[in-house]
Symmetry: C2
Subunit: 240 residues, 2 copies
């Protein structure tokens, strides 16, 4: 049983300069894992036309779904929509339905739909709009690419409307054993149990808490019975 695959493309100098911590990737990763879609790759690129296009074309050909975050606002450095249109080789212009969403929003809030804001109604030909219940300026889907905002609250709202439309696979289940021992002490038995269960994946995540190393052992798979059997074996092998 195979699961669909996905990739994330984070667009933004602010991530690469260290100014902003990217949390959209984890938001997406958690949501996809719950839906049975495997996030297989993430790339972060600067606000540059060619860098965005090259990364997007590499990712959309290798994965079932691609999600982007960032660069769809009103300022001169918001170039994601134009870069996506160029990567797909389609024209882009202000679209009536997107413009109407912005007009309604700015009228409601007593503001003006100026030239800068109107840039947010530029939509590549053939795209489907993604609703933005937070600030109205829409995202869009073109082919297998969902183009979403960078502001986390807006990214989350857009993702919530996109996710139900994606075909998922069997949800990935997991079991975790938390140990107050370094992973080097349990690596041997862990590998042995893992070898007996090739349909499951076994991972080990060290952590430091109160100055001591501990380890989370995580088993993942989509068959709950197989997972329970492996967890019992692992527990017997590594707990005193």
């Amino acid at each position: 049983m195979t699961r669909p695959t996905a990739a994330m493309l984070v667009i933004g100098d602010e991530i690469l300069s260290g100014r902003t911590l990217d949390t959209n990737t984890r938001t997406l990763a958690e949501a996809l894992t719950a839906r049975g879609i495997d996030l297989r790759e993430v790339r972060v690129v600067p606000d540059e036309h060619d860098a965005i296009g090259a990364a997007l074309n590499a990712l959309r050909k290798s994965h079932d779904h691609v999600f982007t975050s960032g660069g769809i606002g009103p300022t001169h450095d918001d170039i994601t929509a134009d870069a996506v249109a160029a990567a797909f080789g389609v024209p882009i212009d202000v679209r009536a339905d997107a413009r109407a969403l912005l007009e309604a929003h700015y009228t409601r809030s007593g503001q003006v739909l100026n030239a800068a804001r109107l840039r947010m109604a530029r939509i590549p030909e053939g795209a489907v709009l993604i609703e933005n219940p937070v600030s109205s300026a829409p995202g869009f889907r073109l082919g297998n690419v969902s183009v979403m905002a960078g502001v986390p609250a807006v990214f989350q709202a857009m993702l919530a409307s996109v996710l139900p439309t994606l075909a998922g696979g069997a949800p990935l289940l997991s079991a975790t054993l938390r140990l107050e021992r370094g992973e080097g002490e349990v690596a041997g038995p862990l590998a042995e149990v893992a070898m007996r269960h090739p349909a499951l994946s076994f991972a080990s995540y060290p952590f430091v808490a109160e100055g001591r190393f501990g380890t989370n052992l995580v088993i993942r798979g989509s068959d709950p019975d197989a997972l329970a059997r492996a967890e019992a074996e692992l527990r017997a092998a590594v707990l005193p």
Copy 2:
């Protein structure tokens, strides 16, 4: 004046599943920015030999420096060192100096250097060790690639010993104007000031605070006088 470029390769299923929030990228980004090195690209890949090798070879050919995070522990899913050796086409084996570091550490702490832990002394031929003051198991540098641990405390310690050895460029300075207005209101004047200062970069970062949109305008450059002039112009253009 050009600055050296860098890329980050984060290795780990735990990031892609959403289990763990990657903070090493921001740690690296802040440190490189302060040193005048431009972080140009980040990739996150799973714990898979071929995925690691393909990403590493793409990044190390395109950038002056590459940093990796994750996958150098003692368990069966820690395959970064082997994947790096394969990507460079060099052999890998347990090395005496790395083994000695581990022996000293485990002797000191009354533990055993078992077969799993000894895996952490596997170093690709030609590499230089990176000190690990937290838990002894070393990272290493091979060519322009620095291979470091995923646990944030260890990543930070390794980075601290690597950074002083890298040639930096002119530090990138920045000035920030925080506005309690949406970026759509200031996008026009921002673009005009930006056009008058082609040697500086101008960016706009929207945020949501207490339910309202605000904007941070950031100017970046390495000439402090030019930065101050541009900041004064921008302030006059966007503040009431």
